[in-house]
Symmetry: C2
Subunit: 215 residues, 2 copies
């Protein structure tokens, strides 16, 4: 991350998308891509792409294009995806199960090490080989296992309380799926994921394209 200066949040939000497209190109064996070819693929303007990627060093060369592998590795390093992370999931309901069962996270270095529940019927069972443990024991586990990320898959009513406990236990980040924006101390990063927001945006765009159906 040597070349990294202050990168705006908007650029950071776009990096995972750049990385996904670069990964597809890598897998197809593509070595180089010009900003205009990349623009056609990813849907940002070529000037936006050049501006974004200029934030972290001169990977593009005039008349030559970007090195797909080089850019992919650089973006991965900037995002911190060149290391592994240990996660605990709190809440073994349907969403918690879906996350624990999603092998993608494992393949990319995000390992679910423990699942925590209050429901005695679930404690002691296993999901995708990972033990469901008593929520009462979460602080000790997070401390001992040096967990990096807490994944909150609880109801919104208890989400902040769970977040506070995870922060107390020493996680560096929270990935929150409860439908509420949780708050963290300044040293703990948080991403509040509101899946339904995208459904509501979809509804908007559907009605805009087909206004007759809204009457």
């Amino acid at each position: 991350m040597s070349k990294q200066t202050k990168i705006s949040n908007a650029v950071i939000r776009r990096l995972p998308r750049y990385r996904r497209y670069l990964n597809e190109l890598r897998k197809k064996g593509v070595d180089k891509i010009s900003s205009s070819e990349f623009s056609h693929l990813i849907g940002y303007t070529a000037s936006q792409i050049r501006q974004d990627l200029n934030n972290f060093g001169g990977f593009g060369q005039q008349g030559y294009g970007y090195s797909v592998e080089g850019l992919y590795n650089e973006i991965s390093a900037i995002l911190g995806l060149d290391r592994g992370y240990k996660m605990v999931v709190v809440g073994a309901g349907h969403l918690g199960q879906a996350i624990v069962n999603h092998t993608y996270y494992y393949k990319t270095g995000f390992i679910v090490t423990g699942i925590f529940e209050v429901d005695p019927n679930l404690i002691g069972t296993k999901i995708n080989g990972v033990e469901v443990m008593d929520y009462e024991d979460i602080v000790e586990f997070v401390e001992q296992e040096d967990i990096d990320i807490g994944v909150i898959c609880t109801t919104k009513e208890v989400a902040q309380e769970v977040a506070d406990k995870l922060c107390f236990a020493g996680v560096d980040g929270l990935w929150n799926f409860a439908p509420v924006d949780i708050e963290t101390p300044s040293h703990v990063a948080v991403e509040n994921v509101h899946i339904s927001d995208s459904l509501h945006s979809l509804a908007y765009h559907m009605n805009k394209k087909n206004p007759g159906k809204n009457e």
Copy 2:
């Protein structure tokens, strides 16, 4: 939606979030809120809030604030949440199951009417009371039931093919969870949800807050 003019995509993306906060305020019995109080709560600047909300009529009054209920209803109507939607889910794996089991969508008018699968072991079973049907029959079902939204919970390899079939059958929108950006004809809206993008942003912010761990 009478007052609606052209609203930018960035504003549309923020509306679900405004709506969530307004809903919490409504439930707490709050009648009015000033842009500065709202700013404190939602984390946008007061000037951003005034600018965003000015897009759709004069709901705020100087020295009086916004009507919580009025604004909530207006944003709901703009998003198209004042009507119901019928959805089919394609793919009854963990994520598909999580979506079908998530009662939130039902409560807000998004009803899962059918689930489609290719796996013969799953066809004929029920998830949250909804029948899992043979993917072969999806076009007929979507046409007959006048389905609005197709939810794609398949692998990325088949996602575009499923999308094409759903568009052919006549859906107005696609909510895609496969880790690939799918394309649709111009009259069909699409939201590509990349949950892992938020995990990658989280990793970035964690490493920025705790740079020592990245070495």
